[in-house]
Symmetry: C2
DNA sequence: CGCACTATTCACAAATTCGTGAAATCCGCG
DNA sequence: CGCGGATTTCACGAATTTGTGAATAGTGCG
């Protein structure tokens, strides 16, 4: 029953990779499962069945993924079955959303450098790291935009 | 005693941010503490004192950070005190090292798409995500290189 | 050589995370 | 309205993670 839909192995491996990168396990599995979903998306019950977990686990995972703007809940009127589906621009907007975090981390590094007297090498390294992070924060959204253009 | 060195607050906030992004807590704290270190780096004992944790916790954290090539152990001959210090290109090489992971994840997505018949929209979205990831994998190292050039 | 001190390892304890089952809630439909 | 099915919430238990303390090992110096 769980292998009635193809792509299981790759989905699980991808989920494992995302989990290793810091994403909670269940959301990662749900997300990868949705990559191989039919066009209408999956029902919560289908996800639970497919992943072999309880409905509660799916509920928690989809809440997390919705808060991250990675999936959306498609409630077709006249049918109270909620279907879930990936946001088309999910990862791209994730990349963009992370940029301010890089900038913020850069600020912290600068603050540390400001407060670190008598350690010239350390300070200049901290400033260097901070500048790199700000560069990333600036370039990541541009990168996404370049991708949008190239893809056209 | 733990506030004898400046930069504590910003360091802790930065560490919390890194932890939220999936990095284990203790390595994150050690890493941020080293950002504000004196030029010689910190001793394991100094780190333990500064962070208010046991020597064992520091030992585990530095092992993790070394395996990630984020810090290095400076054993000055004639002194058995091991000092730890950030690798100058730590974050840049981390960014570069992640590129193959993006590519791998892209492969998984393509595999899922290959195996997903009768869901044209899902498939084309999966291919799109895969292509985006490969684009990232290709561009991230270039981004770092651009930064190196611009910096000098 | 062994002393003093530092760093690492190991087993355990605390804390957090994760997923389940059962109860509660919601909603379209008869 | 209330029924039936789907989803969410909640408290608990399991499992993984995280950090500590004590023992171990390594090393420069007397």
């Amino acid at each position: 029953m769980s292998d009635e839909h193809a792509g299981i192995d790759a989905a699980e491996q991808g989920a494992a990779m995302l989990a290793a990168a810091g994403m909670p396990r269940m959301p990662a599995r749900v997300m990868m499962a949705l990559v191989g979903s039919p066009d209408e998306g999956y029902t919560a019950a289908e996800l639970a069945d497919r992943l072999g977990v309880s409905a509660a686990a799916v509920s928690g995972a989809v809440r997390y993924l919705q808060s991250m703007r990675i999936i959306q809940r498609l409630s077709k009127p006249g049918d109270r079955l909620a279907r879930y589906d990936l946001m088309d621009d999910g990862w791209r907007s994730m990349v963009i959303a992370n940029a301010p975090l890089y900038a913020k981390l850069g600020e912290y590094l600068d603050t540390i450098a400001d407060e670190n007297t008598d350690a010239p090498a350390s300070v200049s390294r901290a400033r260097d790291m901070a500048a790199f992070l700000r560069y990333l924060a600036e370039r990541m959204p541009e990168l996404v935009e370049e991708w949008e253009n190239r893809r056209r």
